[in-house]
Point group: C2
Chain length 366, copies 2
């Protein structure tokens, strides 16, 4: 799942409402992260394989835990809010690939925040709503398909966010394409490779990364995100991979389109399906004058705490994302404020900087 999506909106909104500090919302984030991650231990992988969308069916409990901390819920109220959330958890994978998938996320956050607010006002729910025969574990996973003990085994020793960490995607496209993009960026940066130099490109990667990304001729922005050929060609033509490349109109870019027929993909002999290197690639370019250039990435950047993105790489990603919503002069100050979140006195300073201009409301029924 994506552990931050159910947490960040809740901690920002409740952080602002309760006058929380940066440290308060970071603490709430960690509490939410551990809650999601711990419940996931009990129900994985059956939960996901069965067809639930865990980002939301588990994420709602993270929203509740983070919200409970910021709202100052008592232990009993927190128990009630978590139990209440069992009855509001939802989202199935059949709706992946449609607008309903991102709707799951907003629905989850709204419901988790609602559960916390209701519990604070004296609402009741069953204290055994997880372990009850008709509770979360049995109803969502089914008898025999979970291990409740794993939730509390060695709780916070260490914290999952410290040991397992969080993957951060460097580019706005499928994570399985990232190592190939970084190989190509390396050739552009270190070898001065230009599109006009290229006679042929070979992308070799772990075979698990190919079934969903081997799309030699993408027609839409969404298909472009899952085309290892398109994104690698974009890295060559543009020296970066950004949101604008996944507009439907951008996918037909003539310079990129010329490169696509020159690209072959396949399994790398050192990167078997079962190997430890799951997110890895080698890109080999044959130039028009017969030179052979290659670059290889064995561990994807940003995938876990041992291989973090640099500050510059984080900034590049942040700027690309923030520009979708904010005026340019506010982006750098917001980034710097987030870098120093732990020392921020009031979350209201952050929301002031990040607030959008109110958009005109669309008439219902139009």
């Amino acid at each position: 799942g994506h552990p931050s999506v159910p947490l960040v909106p809740a901690i920002i909104a409740f952080g602002e409402m309760t006058g929380a500090s940066g440290k308060d919302v970071l603490t709430a984030y960690v509490a939410g992260f551990e809650t999601e991650s711990r419940i996931a231990r009990a129900v994985n992988f059956h939960h996901y394989e069965k067809g639930w969308h865990p980002t939301t069916t588990l994420g709602i409990f993270g929203t509740v835990a983070a919200s409970a901390l910021l709202l100052g819920l008592s232990e009993d109220e927190t128990e009630t809010a978590l139990a209440l959330a069992v009855s509001l958890a939802s989202g199935v994978k059949a709706n992946f690939g449609t607008m309903t998938k991102p709707l799951h996320v907003g629905h989850c956050v709204r419901n988790g925040m609602l559960a916390a607010m209701l519990a604070r006002q004296g609402f009741t729910a069953a204290g055994d709503a997880f372990e009850h025969g008709h509770g979360f574990l049995n109803v969502f996973n089914g008898p025999g398909n979970f291990d409740a003990e794993k939730i509390f085994d060695n709780w916070a020793d260490p914290l999952d966010i410290v040991e397992k960490g969080l993957g951060l995607k460097q580019f706005p496209c499928c994570g399985s394409t990232h190592p190939a993009i970084n190989c190509m960026l390396k050739l552009v940066r270190d070898d001065g490779l230009k599109p006009g130099d290229v006679a042929g490109i070979e992308i070799l990667t772990n075979s698990r990364r190919l079934p969903h990304t081997d799309h030699p001729d993408p027609r839409t922005g969404l298909e472009g995100k899952f085309s290892i050929q398109y994104v690698t060609a974009r890295a060559l033509t543009d020296g970066r991979v950004v949101f604008a490349h996944f507009e439907d109109s951008a996918v037909a870019d003539p310079e990129t389109a010329k490169l696509l027929p020159l690209i072959g993909v396949g399994e790398h002999p050192d990167m078997a399906a079962e190997s430890e290197n799951q997110f890895c690639a080698e890109v080999i370019v044959t130039t028009r004058n017969g030179t052979r250039l290659s670059a290889r990435i064995d561990h994807e950047l940003g995938r876990g705490p041992s291989n973090p993105m640099s500050r510059d790489e984080l900034w590049t990603k942040f700027e690309d994302c923030a520009a979708l919503a904010l005026p340019e002069p506010r982006i750098r100050p917001l980034f710097e404020m987030l870098e120093n979140l732990e020392t921020l006195g009031s979350v209201a300073d952050l929301t002031g900087l990040a607030a959008l201009q109110a958009a005109p409301v669309r008439e219902a029924g139009e």
Copy 2:
């Protein structure tokens, strides 16, 4: 499940919004009823036994179908709205007995109406969200635990609402206590029985009705609803059973309390667990002067189309319910309007009569 609760709020609200007639909302009700009832055929009884709250996990599809009709959704939009609702369906039985159970219902109606509105505005969801491997039937019921064919077998031939009909509860307490109440009301009405006459009362019923209603000493209103002794005593002391009898303070009523020790309950020899008569009772009273009076009910009133409540019995129930929310002079005209719903020109006339005075909003966080 309770098929009307996800339907009535939606048809009233969308009926008013779209300027619908009484006939329009009745048609929408029937469409919603059949949709719920048909999906229930495919998933019962496993769905309920597993721990879902079918009133809401199936009811949401009724809300969608009724809403789709009133909003004039196309066939494609209706398919989208039903598919979207798969991702919003929720509610587990572990939370029965808490405030979260009725919350399931409001949550279900809100989500079903939202799904219909989103589909009308071009939202997308998966066309195969029911039958998909990660869709409703497989995720909620599990492979092998449903029969999808039953949804469309002989659709509307006849309509379930005509053949199976709808059970209407006559009194605001557990349905399993109703036959005993009616036996006692008969003794009061036909034999002039008074509390002071009684030396002993024997309540005999189908044994399936006893485990959840044999409560000789209820302490709260909620316990009173599930005490066959208390409600039968109330029928004797008051000649009726109404909402006011289930206030926490009412359960301790001294006159009723004096009767409770005189009451015994047991299985009737003619009413075995497996017999056709599931909702039946005989009440035998021994009076102080040694007379033996008895009354027997073999089929509960209001339970299915073959044994409907009379107009007077419906009015008695309606008046008791409506008095909780409406000023007395509006209750009779509203009842008469509902009796003639099929000829009503505009649902707005109905909502005008049924509208509550705005209540003061409670401050969030109080």
